[in-house]
Every structure is written in C-alpha cells, then in structure tokens.
Point group: C2
Chain length 262, copies 2
C-alpha cells in the first residue's frame, strides 16, 4: 500500500499560469503524505536576460557561474517556490517551501571539473540525504515543496536537476515509506504510438520493457526516463509513474491514467 | 530561565558581508533554541534599479506594488534567506529558511487602503500565528530563519516589517517558552550619551524608562523601539534586549553587553 507520493512537476507547467493553478488544486487534493519537487521553468532565463546574465550551455547543459547560482537561488528558491507555497496554502495544503540547504535535507558535492566546468552544480549521494528529518516534517502534517537547489555544507548553494532531486528523495524515503514517484510532464504517459495520446502503455515491468525496446516502440526521449525509473525501483522505490500534470490526482490512485513502472 | 531566543538582525548587517559572516558564526554558537528574523537590506533596491522597478515611498514608507512584491519575494525569500541558511549550515546550525507562508506560520491581512495604498503589505494578528507548528520545528532541533514576508491565505505573498515579525513570533511563542527577544542593530544598546558607545544603559524597566524620558535622555530613534519592547513584554515576552550585532552571543547570557528591558 503506497503511503507516500513524491511528485515532480516540470518547468512547462511552472511557466503556464492556468496549467499551474489547476495542477496545484489537484495536487492539494491528493490524500495522504506527499512531497512536491518543482523544476525551474524559463523565468530565470528571462530575468537573467534583463539583468545581463547570459545563459551558457555546453553540450546542451547549463553552466552555473556565480551570477547564475544567485539568479536561480532567487527565482527557484524565492519567487517560484513561495508562489507555489502560497497557492497550495490557499488550497488548504500545508506546504513548506524548501531547498536542499534547509534543515540540511540534501547535502551535495560541487561537480568536479573535468573536460567541462559546470560551475555551481551539485551532485547528490542518496545516503547523505537527511531522511529522518524530512520524515519528521511529513509526520508533522507538512507537505515539503522543494526547489531544485542543494548546498555544499560550506556555505555555497548549488544548482541540481529537479528529476534527480525527486528520485533521490524517493529513494531515501523508501526506508520509511512505500513510495510512488510520479513524474508529471506534458504527455499522458509512455505511448505505444508517439502521436496517439490514447495509446498509453498502462504498465511496464522489466520484461515488458525489454520487449518494447526490442520492438523499437520506445522513443529516444523516453528511454532515459525509463532507465532512471528502473534505477529508482532497484534502489527501493515501490513504483514510478510517468504521466500528464493534469492527471496527477488519478495517478495517485489504483486506476492510473499514466504509465506505471514497477 | 530563558529557553528561547528570538533574534532580529537588521539590513545593515545583511548588507555587510564581513559583519554578516561574523554575526552568523556567533549566532550559530548560541546554545539552546533560537529563531532568526532577517531584514531585507538594500539588495532588493539595487536589483530593482537594474530591472527598472522603481522604489516608491510615501511619507517615508515603502509602497509594495505587484512588481515589488515579486522582487522582495525573490531577494528576501530566495537569495538572502538561502544564503543565510547555507552559511548557518556551514557553522553547524541546522537552519530552515522560511517565510510566513511556509507551514502557514504567519497568516496576514493585506493592509486596508485608506489615505495611502501601501500595496502588498501584510499586517499580522498575533493570535493567528501557528505557534504550535513553529514549536514542532524547534523541538525537532531546527533553527527557523524568517524572511520578512507573510501571505494572505489566498495565494498572495505580502511584505511585512521584520521588527514586527520578530515581536509577533516572540509573543506567540511565549505561551510555550520563556522568551528573550533580541534586536541587533549598529549600536551597543540604549545609550546615556548618544555619542558615547560606552554609556550603555544595562537595564531598563518601566520605572527607569519613565525617568529617562523625563530627563530627556532618550533620542527620537530609540523611543519607538522601547515602546515596542514594553508592548512585547506586556504581551508575554519575558525580556527584550537591544544591542549590537557583534554582541549577539553575550546578549544571550546573563551578563549582557546591550540594554535589557523587562
């Protein structure tokens, strides 16, 4: 019996006020213990443009220099996080906004400089997550809402991928709870036919996954998501679900609209 | 016996990196339960200038329009708050950054429009503070760090004076703890001679206060601080202390460097 939902909502929902309001209403209505992790969206890039902070990418990955970590700390940890918290409170969900620095929940290590210097980017070791402290907040009736930020334990904030934070928290909390990790994105789930939203594959286990791969059903975009899902399950997460942000509520029930992986 | 310190640090400390680092080291070393409330400093004004968000004042009081509440939510609730938390964590203080929206600790009401429309400014009713929830965080070994922000319960963040948040939290927590409320500013305390930093008045009670007023010892700047201090004491706060940020540690002991009001 699932008794904790760890839910990641992507930047495309954050960037769309109508979609976001609907999502937050649905999220607030989910019964039982839950955690929300939010992506950043495009607000930081837009604000950075106004401030003359250039968005730099190497091989498609963002470089977080000193000005950028301040920017994302403001935007993700301040503006976006507090707007989500205030709106969840309005929906009678007792949200508490956090970064990985708060209560030291997610200590991280600045990514070592090899060929590329990613700057102030934090890599998480799941064993370092302060799961007992996070459990205390959940048991106090609170719903933690995480911005995609961590810290190095020496006073420096770090930028960390929201998907990674979600799977790391889900894994760390699996020692206390039976966790369903839910990734909300803009499609209904893993599709049999990429263009047909009604072709959602309801259940994928290892055997079905190997068959789908062999049949070339899976697109390049979905393969890493599924690999990450199986990695989470092998680390103790009970179930992973990939589905549309609109379906978040039904995706916490037994009759899911998205793709359940276990 | 004091068992909770509620400490407010002003914007002049926030704006001075060397002073701030020293203050945070001293704050982290304070034994026992403690809460920090931080002012905003000038970072929001500087960032607002860059973004073309004008700082508007009427009768010396800031007007918080829509662009300004987003700005201070970013800067106070994100950048400043998380930098304080990360630095306290580096000093082995298990800080958790918050606004009044988080865990619904400080619900507020948007100030009614009379002669002046202050915009998104929140007024607190002490009875509405969720003191039990805040106590649970303290009992879990956490040190809450509050940005000067509240919310209206309907999804809107509000700007609230940090001194007011400090005295309101101290008052609300007085039903559980014996509280010393400490205001850290740039002077050693209430001075007998305004120009002599060694003329700190160590103890002020109602009787001494009336004498000092009658003797015209008190400057215009210190009078409202003392009035607020006595108001807090009359609402249940055990002691109020006014002192220098550098002296925060000794000001939590019995041999204070600043001015103790009780």
């Amino acid at each position: 019996m699932i008794d904790l939902f760890v839910i990641k909502v992507g930047g495309n929902v954050i960037d769309n006020p109508a979609l976001l309001d609907e999502f937050l209403g649905n999220f607030a209505a989910i019964k039982g213990k839950k955690i929300l992790i939010h992506g950043g969206g495009k607000i930081a890039t837009r604000l950075g443009d106004k401030l003359g902070i250039e968005s730099k990418y190497v091989n498609g990955r963002r470089i977080t220099d000193g000005a950028t970590i301040d920017l994302v700390t403001m935007v993700y940890g301040g503006l976006v996080n507090k707007q989500l918290v205030a709106k969840l409170q309005a929906n009678r969900c007792n949200a508490i906004g956090m970064t990985g620095a708060d209560a030291n929940i997610i200590p991280a290590a600045k990514r070592p400089v090899k060929e590329i210097d990613y700057g102030f980017v934090g890599d998480i070791t799941t064993e370092d997550i302060q799961a007992t402290q996070l459990k205390a907040l959940l048991e106090a009736g609170l719903t933690p809402v995480f911005a995609p930020l961590t810290h190095d334990g020496h006073g420096q904030m770090l930028n960390t991928n929201a998907d990674t934070i979600a799977s790391s928290l889900a894994t760390a909390l699996s020692k206390f709870y039976t966790v369903r990790l839910i990734y909300c994105f803009e499609k209904k789930g893993v599709l049999h036919s990429p263009d047909d939203e009604n072709s959602v594959i309801t259940l994928i286990d290892r055997m079905i996954y190997e068959e789908l791969k062999a049949d070339n059903v899976l697109t390049d975009g979905i393969l890493p998501k599924l690999e990450n899902a199986f990695a989470a399950i092998e680390s103790g997460v009970a179930e992973v679900l990939i589905g549309h942000a609109d379906d978040v509520q039904s995706n916490t029930t037994d009759t899911v609209a998205g793709t359940l992986i276990r």
